[in-house]
Symmetry: C2
DNA sequence: GCCCACGGCGTTACCGGTAACCCAGCGCGC
DNA sequence: GCGCGCTGGGTTACCGGTAACGCCGTGGGC
């Protein structure tokens, strides 16, 4: 379905001539400032509507010397959790009058390539940049590019706790490990996320730490790329003979693949092994069996990131935001040991 | 991670003064037009780099009297298939020098509300509008708003065949029904998508038609909202006593919910009933059992939609695009009858 | 030796807005 | 009757680019 090409839009000058006033009066009506006789105002508004006036945002930006776009460095923006972050960013940005300029990059790709993408964003004079891909490569690329505008690096909804001299750590992974420990699981195997990702390394670090705290050797049986297919492949390495009673998978989609791999090999969940993920994607409740996971509010994470960036843009005092609390969602894929 | 607020950017006038030339010479170097002495060009380029010049896109748009943004009316852009469409649109648009301005609306919401969202897009002087939400409400809202620019209404990757006096029809649904018929299934139950959606009604129409062609009464047992949860609920109404040997679900996510509901009730798939979906989301291969579905290339659909819109913008001759072929992916959830 | 074309720039106008400043007329106090 | 401030608006400059045009010097054709 299409519509024909229409002719050139009316400007405030056209409207001014039609209403018999100066263009400045039209501008005043548009902005609602200054004092204007009601009669004049109505005449202008009538012409505005009749001529179907639409403001030229470029001209407005130019005259106001103020940008209204935020560059977003996204990645696989079609993936559920990350695009929920984007949605949250969009909601806040729109309310604040900003428009998003989304650049898709492969966050695990070549640093030079990411830098080029960032540079192109930089060359397009946006008001600020929001990076939603917490990978090492993106962080490095950000170091390379000299931005003239504020940059905010989001943690992509994955809540982390960072104390003064401790590194950032995944709360979600801690919740999963505590849940498993509560159920009596101490021999927990782990399928990690892609190594360039901050959230993957954060979760893995917490897993290892908790295992050591239990006096157990960490059992990282594989590493995926967040996809169900990679979880399926990684779970092939799960060997019941090694004694693990639970399997912690770094995200829900990989957990789906892992569940499938275990089912094919006749390993029952949760009777033979408990399985838990992270993210709480909407589908997780309908896996077979329904997956125990940690709910992360990605949209709210996006809100927070956007608010932080906008406050950086408008008032250059940076205060680090508080992320919402993640909560563990226990479902049938985990059960008490024994 | 953040960076401080930097000072105001350099303009071509700053660069011109620094290089000892006129601003027009700088503009020429920037655009690569006109004849310039290599020595002068180098001097300008050096200053460009030294002052970290970034073009002001607003000013450029203004001077060129040409818009560079495309408004996209999206919906649940965080959902897998739809955001793949967006990604495809983005890829093409970026290559053509356009930037996306994405507006999220609830495509099943109030027509007035959608109209308002469209109007705000319209008021922002974009080069064209691409609607990626094929719902009746969005179509109605598009009728209300008088656009000054080309509008393209995408079919969101779902391929349809439209003959002259026939309505558009879902090819994907036809593929599923043929596959089931090949396996001997004639008594096929159906879980439909939300009624406002074109793709839902297209798929349902094809389902009904095929059933009647087989001399069977259509068995629409429920209607969902595309989510796994709604598929789970709808599948509660599946009664094996009614004789259906297969269940066709209008998309994969609802099919996941349906699989779960069937499993909970002890109905085996595919032994007791075959199940098929549409979309081929990446997770479908890891459902229990892996889901027979129809692969739709959403990203390519986005490419095509964007190309169509851009050609409408640049040369107002509208030619309807060819969508890529969908293909059936047979997996374990469907089996020969008997 | 003259004219003209062309390379290599500079000048100026303009895109569509906003903002600072200016100005006429009126009502008012004194 | 005069100065004052306020209302209601017009004039003009400017934002940072692009485009049309003009100008100067040089070199080649005749």
């Amino acid at each position: 379905m299409t519509r024909p090409h229409p002719d050139r839009p009316a400007t405030i000058y056209d409207v001014a001539v039609a209403a018999g006033v100066s263009h400045q009066t039209v501008s005043r009506v548009l902005r609602g400032v200054g004092s204007i006789r009601p009669e004049t105002r109505e005449r202008v508004q009538a012409e505005l509507a009749r001529l179907k006036y639409r403001p030229n945002v470029g001209a407005r930006e130019l005259a106001r010397a103020r940008q209204r776009r935020i560059g977003v460095v996204g990645y696989e923006t079609f993936e559920s959790s990350t695009s929920k972050v984007l949605r949250g960013v969009d909601e806040v940005a729109e309310r604040a009058g900003y428009t998003l300029d989304i650049v898709n990059v492969d966050p695990t790709g070549d640093v030079a390539e990411i830098s080029a993408a960032l540079e192109s964003l930089n060359g397009t004079d946006v008001a600020g940049v929001l990076a939603t891909s917490p990978t090492r490569n993106v962080r490095e690329a950000l170091e390379h590019v000299e931005f003239r505008m504020p940059v905010f690096f989001d943690v992509a909804g994955d809540q982390v706790a960072a104390h003064d001299d401790e590194p950032a750590r995944s709360i979600a992974a801690g919740l999963v490990m505590s849940h498993l420990a509560d159920l009596g699981h101490e021999r927990v195997a782990f399928i990690a996320g892609p190594e360039h990702w901050d959230s993957a390394t954060n979760r893995e670090a917490v897993y290892r730490e908790r295992m050591l705290a239990l006096g157990r050797e960490p059992m990282v049986i594989g590493r995926g790329d967040w996809s169900a297919a990679s979880g399926y492949r990684a779970a092939q390495a799960f060997d019941p003979a090694e004694g693990a009673t639970a399997l912690f998978v770094a995200n829900d989609r990989m957990a789906l693949g892992a569940l499938r791999a275990l089912a094919e090999r006749g390993i029952r969940v949760p009777e033979d092994v408990s399985v838990a993920g992270v993210d709480d994607i909407p589908e997780a409740a309908y896996f077979s069996p329904p997956l125990t996971t940690v709910h992360i509010d990605f949209t709210e994470g996006g809100h927070i990131a956007a608010r932080s960036l906008i406050s950086l843009i408008e008032t250059p005092d940076a205060s680090l935001p508080e992320y919402p609390a993640s909560v563990l969602i226990a479902r049938d894929s985990t059960a008490r040991l024994g």
